[in-house]
């Protein structure tokens, strides 16, 4: 059993969703119930696979890759099928495996127009393969393939099932991310040709092996490294999204169907931040030191800019979307310090933001279904009309603004603290200035989130919704989808070591690479 898990477990987790999608493709469209069941079974099987992998994961060695499979794929360019998990990718993969079945359950009885559960669920399954694959891939080309696979299903999810401006939002999302990833690919190829990995485990000079590349880049001139890092910065930074590349995000989030927004916020954005920690920084630590002040600067601009935009929004979903920009700013600030403290906070922040903003988008979707609008000034009195939902919304809001005891706190505050003493080679005064700005951002965050909560949940329902029979409290599928998220928000908030224990050794390994580069 253990051998089987080691050899096949991770690959199964990656490709099971595609198998499920293929089965569904063969079932006629009219069998809607059957489609839902197949999709649910598939995603639960994937989640089960994730639990089995976690149970067999050697926590003591979480800095090493485990469940590694290394098979030949495209020999001609020496790109291999290498997958593996370590303390950084494990939590993000588990987050994916959790969110996707919850999304299937949530949509059970209310698929957005134009309905068609078959196509909707097939796209979600393909999306899941892309996301899990990205977190598992340990070869740059394989990573690129999975990184891109998510684009097509997401394009259709937004463009077919989205809101009024869905077509514009879908193509904008697609074009922005493709632009970044095309340049990222050029950077990957430059690494392939310029790095010399003959002395490493890869055994050949030109390789895409992410395990070997960090040791192989020392010979590249710093100026070249900085340019290569720039290509990756665009690829990952657009995905995160960092200011000033964020403009696709509010449109995509606002127009996407609820489930699409949840997956987008909870997982797709993490592909970018994950790319920084997994690829850009370990492989080119010297260039990372050069770029860190710029990344940190854009991160804090994003925090403040996102917060100010939030204050100006009149649409609840758009407000949550802009809060994502701000929150990803904290994550990027943590990464830009290049310390293990900051990067730990970043990984924690990714998971926490996934859970919290995912919940917020779920709630926004449910409210939209009941009120048929998310215009803040028309809402109000949620606690009166649907008290349970009001309380869950309150909890998610508090978590989002970083209240201690809830998960959001552990992503935000350590990231700010990390900026107090950034890695060797970075300017302390500059990062302390960033720290102050980021801290002001938390005040603004409290401002816009509490104000949002106040306007939507407090008071009495506005006249048009006072006796609206459509405004019911949380339904069963909603409970099933939300409870695991709430439990995790609480659990991680109370005992953050659950996650830090897993991530720390792997993050320290990345930090050591940076320290070595700064020392040399």
């Amino acid at each position: 059993m253990e051998d089987f898990l080691n050899d096949w477990g991770l690959s199964l987790a990656v490709f099971l969703p595609v198998v499920g999608a293929a089965i569904m493709a063969l079932i006629p469209r009219a069998e809607e119930q059957l489609h839902k069941v197949v999709a649910l079974i598939t995603t639960l099987a994937v989640a089960g696979m994730g639990v089995a992998l976690l149970a067999n994961f050697d926590m003591g060695r979480s800095k090493d890759l485990q469940f590694v499979v290394d098979a030949s794929w495209i020999d001609v360019i020496n790109s291999r099928y290498i997958v593996g998990l370590d303390g950084i990718s494990m939590p993000l993969m588990l987050l994916t495996m959790l969110i996707v079945p919850l999304c299937v359950i949530y949509s059970w009885n209310h698929f957005p127009e134009p309905h068609n559960p078959k196509a909707f669920l097939i796209l979600i399954l393909i999306l899941e393969t892309g996301m899990i694959g990205t977190f598992a891939a340990q070869d740059l080309i394989l990573f690129f393939v999975f990184f891109e696979i998510v684009l097509v299903p997401m394009y259709f999810l937004i463009g077919v099932w989205g809101g009024e401006e869905r077509q514009y939002a879908a193509i904008k999302f697609f074009l922005f991310t493709l632009f970044g990833s095309a340049l990222m690919l050029v950077s990957f190829l430059a690494l392939y040709f310029l790095a010399d990995a003959s002395g490493t485990a890869a055994g050949v000079a030109n390789t895409f092996d992410m395990r070997a590349l960090p040791e192989a880049t020392a010979g590249i001139a710093l100026s070249t490294q900085v340019i290569i890092f720039g290509g990756m910065f665009l690829g990952f930074g657009i995905k995160v999204p960092m200011f000033p590349f964020h403009t696709w995000l509010p449109d995509a989030h606002t127009q996407a169907p609820t489930v699409g927004s949840v997956i987008l916020a909870a997982i797709l954005l993490k592909l970018g931040t994950y790319g920084f920690i997994r690829i850009a920084i370990p492989i080119l630590p010297e260039a990372a030191i050069e770029w860190a002040p710029i990344i940190g600067g854009l991160a804090v601009i994003g925090i403040i800019y996102g917060a100010l935009c939030c204050l100006a929004q009149t649409d609840m979903k758009r407000l949550i979307a802009f809060s994502s920009v701000a929150h990803m700013g904290y994550t990027m600030l943590g990464i830009s310090t290049l310390t293990d403290f900051g990067m730990n906070a970043a990984v924690f922040g990714m998971v926490a933001h996934g859970l919290i903003t995912g919940t917020l988008f779920f709630i926004a979707g449910s409210m939209k279904e009941r009120y048929h609008t998310l215009e803040i000034k028309r809402l109000g009195g949620l606690l009166v009309s649907a008290p349970k939902m009001g309380w869950v919304f309150g909890l998610a809001t508090m978590a989002s603004l970083g209240l201690p005891g809830l998960a959001g706190f552990w992503g935000e505050v350590p990231a700010i603290l990390a900026a107090y003493s950034p890695a060797e080679g970075l300017s302390e005064p500059l990062f302390r200035a960033y720290m102050v700005i980021a801290a002001i951002g938390t005040v603004l965050a409290a401002g816009y989130l509490l104000w949002l909560y106040q306007r939507t949940a407090f008071g009495t329902p506005t006249e048009e919704f006072v006796d609206d029979p459509h405004i019911t409290d949380i339904s069963i599928p909603e409970w099933v989808a939300w409870v695991p998220m709430i439990v995790l928000i609480l659990a991680l908030g109370i005992y953050p070591n659950l996650l830090f224990n897993l991530t720390d050794p792997a993050v320290v390994a990345v930090g050591d690479l940076v320290a070595a580069a700064a020392g040399s």
């Binding site: 001609v76 393939v145 097509v152 394009y155 259709f156 463009g159 077509q167 193509i171 697609f174 493709l178």
Partner: protein, 500 residues
């Protein structure tokens, strides 16, 4: 009567012929002749067998190609004018398979239209014979003969819809531009012959590559290459393509866009690698300019197209630009650029033929080429819509569909060159991929996100041969995209090792 002249004719000794090496061409010739005889004998009764016979006949030469590939030795005849090596075999196989798919596309289109069938397939086969010959031609005269053999039937086929004005325009434009290009090319060839004193590419390679950079050499190289720049519709020599594509019968459009363009690239590759390899100071900058112009102009004009065939014409122009980008760095990276272009051609054939198959299938119902007629296709023809989606995203280079690996191959060689030419082209390809996505995704948007324009949702009846063409190309596009090694291994060809 001059007796000495007569004596030399009588004394002519047939050069030794390697029958195995020319077996593919001879088989094809036999098939073409057989079709013509069948037509004369059977007359109207033979009509319904013609397409099937032509299709099978095109697969037949694959047998000698396979035996030659298994044999694996490079064969050279007529003092090096006709060479059979891995590159030639790969390209011959690609031509024949593309030709087979074109026959599948033509079957119902030609049978149901008001067209003569046996002439159609006969001309198609003679054009393909020119292409198959082109893959082995390593001599200026042989190249020219192959080019005319593939072009002249193609001029006729392009004007096949003789009762439509657009059809006449297509044939006429294609013919005039083609002849014009031939003339320029012949002028270039004459200059090269003057320098080298020989028509064989290998000898020209010696004289041109080792010699000084004379203006006459530059002129010869540039003019010869420009002749084929017409063939691959590189900007600014692309102006015939949209009108010809639109006016020609759609299966012939597919044929021109795929097989004919491939033939142009085969000729370019042979000229560059065997004939002009040492002159990358000439062709490097020339292809740099052509590649940049071709991909950018092609993509920008494609953005504005509302006719699907014209859109694919400009998309084909842009795709040729990506391949030219690899050719621009041939001097720096050697055979890997050849391999990148060969890989690109294989994927390009699969996804483009597939897209045209869907276009033909959809036009059977809508009778329109307007992109808006694709509105809501997913509602009434989900299979066709999903297939078209696969081809579109493949052309845009989104994994896991084949096109991503083709584009990766181009990125790889341009970065590998490690020169400003290479890097600037890599960035240009990256930016152009984004522009191209817009119009590819726009068709996907019509199919999946827009309502049916006239509300008519009767399903499309797709005839068997067309469905087979779609199935083959979808499987190839997806399968080879997931396992690109299958293509990458057979495109590991070389022209430098043998030709020198």
């Amino acid at each position: 009567m001059d007796t000495s002249a007569l004596l030399t004719v009588l004394a002519f000794e047939r050069p030794p012929i390697d029958w195995h090496a020319v077996a593919p061409e001879l088989t094809l010739l036999a098939v073409g002749a057989l079709l013509t005889i069948l037509d004369v004998v059977l007359l109207e009764r033979g009509r319904k067998f013609m397409a099937a016979a032509a299709g099978l006949g095109l697969l037949l030469p694959l047998i000698p190609i396979l035996t030659l590939a298994v044999d694996g030795t490079n064969r050279s005849m007529f003092g090096g004018a006709f060479v059979v090596d891995e590159f030639a075999l790969l390209m011959k196989a690609l031509f024949l398979v593309s030709g087979y798919i074109v026959v599948l596309l033509s079957t119902n289109y030609i049978a149901e239209g008001d067209f003569w069938e046996s002439e159609y397939y006969g001309l198609l086969i003679s054009s393909l014979m020119g292409m198959v010959l082109m893959a082995s031609a390593r001599d200026l005269v042989t190249i020219f003969v192959a080019l005319e053999l593939l072009s002249i039937p193609a001029y006729l086929l392009a004007g096949w819809r003789k009762r439509s004005l657009e059809g006449n325009e297509a044939g006429m434009k294609y013919f005039l531009m083609g002849v014009f290009a031939s003339a320029i090319m012949l002028y270039g060839m004459s200059l090269l012959y003057g320098v080298a004193g020989d028509t064989r590419l290998a000898e020209i390679g010696e004289a041109v590559g080792r010699g000084d950079s004379l203006p006459i050499v530059t002129l010869g190289v540039v003019f010869t290459l420009i002749g084929f720049a017409f063939k691959v519709s590189a900007v600014p020599f692309h102006t015939w393509a949209p009108d010809t594509y639109q006016g020609a019968p759609t299966p012939i459009t597919a044929f021109l866009a795929v097989a004919s363009k491939t033939a142009g690239f085969v000729a370019l590759l042979q000229l560059v690698y065997v004939g002009f390899y040492g002159r990358d100071d000439v062709y490097g900058p020339m292809f740099w300019v052509l590649a940049l112009l071709t991909m950018t102009v092609g993509n920008l004009i494609a953005l504005r197209q509302t006719n699907i065939v014209r859109l694919f014409a400009y998309s084909g122009v842009a795709q040729a630009g990506y391949m030219l980008a690899a050719l621009a760095v041939a001097g720096e990276v050697g055979d890997t650029a050849l391999q990148a272009i060969s890989t690109y051609l294989v994927f390009y054939a699969a996804m483009n033929l597939g897209a045209f198959a869907v276009i033909i299938a959809v036009a059977r119902k809508t009778r329109s080429g307007h992109t808006q007629s694709y509105g809501g296709l997913f509602e009434y023809a989900p299979g066709l819509a999903v297939s078209m989606g696969v081809f579109l995203f493949s052309l845009a280079g989104i994994p896991p569909f084949g096109g991503w690996y083709a584009k990766l191959a181009v990125f790889k060689v341009t970065v590998e060159a490690d020169t400003w030419i290479g890097y600037s082209l890599a960035i240009a390809v990256a930016v152009n991929s984004v522009i191209a996505l817009y119009y590819y995704a726009n068709i996907a948007r019509q199919m999946f996100m827009n309502p049916v324009p006239d509300g008519d949702t009767t399903p499309i009846k797709v005839p068997f041969s067309l469905a087979a063409a779609v199935a083959i190309t979808v499987i190839a596009t997806v399968g080879l995209g997931v396992l690109p090694n299958l293509v990458a291994e057979i495109t590991e060809v070389s022209l430098l090792a043998a030709g020198g």
